[in-house]
Amino acid sequence: MRCGDFKENYKKDEEIFQSYFVKFWLALFFIFLLIFPFIADHYVLYMANMVGFAVIGAVGLNLLTGFTGQISLGHAAFIGVGAYASAILTTRFGLSFWLSLPLAGVVSAFAGVIIGIPSLRVKGLYLCIATLAAQFIFEFIFVHWESLTNGITGIHIPSPRLGRIEFSTEKEFYWITLFFVVVGVGYARNLVRSKMGRAFVAIRDRDLAAQIIGINLFRYKLSAFAISSFYAGIAGALWVTFLKVVTPDHFPFILSIQYLAMIIVGGLGSILGSIFGAVFMTLIPEILNYLSEIVKLYAPGKEEIFVPMKEVIFGLLIVLFLIFEPLGLAEIWNRVKNFFKLWPFSY
């Protein structure tokens, strides 16, 4: 907290952008995002799209796990449900991408509510196991309901069109991704300062106490599951439309863990943290690939050590962040910001 930073009414206190500096830098950052596709090459744009999908998914998971405290080990399953819903709606029913995308979100939200129903009876550890089971059951359905999902061969998805514009390259798809990231993050940021967001936090902190002060657990827990899965569905639909193909291999258990790792590394219960985490955890495998290329160049045959490295690094990051920095990158960011704000005096 800065000295001389007084709030005179509640409206000011609840503002998202609290100072002119924040507004200025955010505007600058947004302009950068707008000119970004004109200066970046294909590979960087591909990564930017991937980061975008991860941000949407991670924000959704953080609303459920970070804000409402319901641990979900099945986020990849919801992403898969959204992905398959959008793929099936566009290819079988001939709906346009713009209609199938929100519908995919709705289908995924519906799946989320069904999985969320046990959360009214079981919680903590048991809920965690229930969502884990859901993950494996959905994986099984993706592979074995062949009349609907085409099994392991998967479904090819046409690129979305708007009038005569076809969104087929990384650069064109970037605009779609950017739009949904901005809308998704903006909505989440607003949600957490609304009545519903406060109810979520109350449920996380002590659900029985929350119920006693009049928060309807049934309604808000299921809302959290629905909203979180809606985000997951949108992320999944965008992701597979971008890749132009969907197979069951896209949604393994490790993806669920990766999303949990994102919000833990980024910061549980922080929208900004989910963004940091998503960017960080998406870029790490790429950095490892890059390193393995270098090693391949200088010491051929030794690069195989990088194959399991991704899992080890994910595991290490989870363990180290939980032990040493439980509030994640968002907290580090705050500390750095405060240091410069207060410099040269630390108070």
Binding site: T65, G69, I71, P118, R121, V122, G124, L125, Y126, C128, I129, A130, L132, A133, A134, F136, I137, F140, V143, H144, R206, L208, A209, I212, I257, L260, A261, I264, L268, I305, V307, P308, M309, K310, E311, V312, F314, G315, L316, L317, I318, V319, L322, I323, P326
Partner: protein, 294 residues
């Protein structure tokens, strides 16, 4: 009818092994309230250690087995001290996620050391199957079952009669009371991790001996969750009975449902069982029902 009996017997034998791995979960959960999702990796590690001792060091089986148990004991101890102890009193998501992270690390390291190639275990049990008249038990399953039962009995005896076992039960019952009676709760935590690791390592050796080992065999560990949820997370006897039930159900699904949908049902059956139990009776058959107060 014959094939039905055969499947029941196979299911019972598999269930014994499940029960043993489930015991590993329960031992840790009972004392420390931590569900160790890295159990599958403990198992794999045990199988690999025993395998290496048998093939590289040419040790006889009993020696390799003892060595593996000893290493598992150390592993459990070290992991509790380094990773779990800083998290005492943290929210449940941190504790669960840290065991998942631990599992990823162990898996990656095993991948680096032993590579993902599939290996079959050297023969350590006599290969003669046991003929019961109405059904035949393959040698691997039979010996697995025997090992599992012996392991379970030993752990039960330790819990019932030894001083350590009583201390562990006391800690599980009421940590503060145990602390005030002079029991070192931290020591008990470390010990239960060691015991849990040992139980899962035996399970790993038995399963590796039946169906060969590779880095991904630890995925069975997640299916065993159905076993302990059915039996109750904190009940040793429940883990054993849950093991039998899930083993039989799983093999029956393999027999009757697999042909209908073209395979794969056997692997996913435990998770369906899991969801059904959680809906009906979340604390399991013999688990302690939690009463919450604000």
């Amino acid at each position: 009818m014959d094939i039905f009996l055969q499947v029941i017997v196979t299911g019972l034998a598999t269930g014994g092994v499940y029960g043993l791995i489930g015991l590993g979960f329960v031992l840790i959960y009972k004392a420390t309230s931590v569900l160790n999702l890295a159990m599958g990796e403990f198992m794999t590690l045990g199988a690999f250690l025993c395998f290496t001792a048998l093939t590289q060091l040419n040790a006889p089986f009993y020696l390799a087995f003892t060595l593996t148990l000893f290493l598992a004991f150390l592993l459990g101890f070290v992991i509790e001290r380094l990773i779990l102890r800083p998290l005492i009193g943290e929210p449940i998501i941190s504790v669960i996620m840290i065991t998942i992270g631990l599992g990823l690390i162990l898996k990656g390291i095993m991948y680096m050391i032993w590579t993902p190639t599939f290996r079959s275990f050297p023969r350590i049990f006599p290969p003669k199957p046991l003929n019961l008249g109405f059904a035949v038990v393959p040698s691997g399953l039979l010996w697995g079952f025997i090992f599992a039962i012996i392991g379970v009995i030993i752990f039960l005896l330790i819990f019932k009669f030894s001083r350590t076992g009583v201390a562990m039960r006391a800690t599980a019952n009421d940590q503060q009371a145990a602390l005030s009676m002079g029991i070192s709760v931290k020591g008990v935590f470390a010990l239960s991790w060691s015991f849990g690791a040992m139980a899962s390592v035996i399970g790993g050796i038995v399963i590796g001996n039946m169906s060969g080992i590779n880095v991904y065999m630890g995925d069975v560990g997640l299916a065993v969750l159905a076993v302990i949820i059915l039996g109750g997370l904190d009940s040793i006897g429940g883990a054993i009975i849950g093991g039998f039930v899930v083993g039989i159900l799983e093999n029956l699904t393999g027999l009757y449902i697999d042909p209908l949908i073209g395979g794969g049902a056997k692997e996913v059956a435990p998770f369906f069982i899991l969801v059904i139990i959680l809906m009906i009776r979340p604390y399991g058959l013999f688990g302690k029902e939690i009463i919450e107060r604000v």
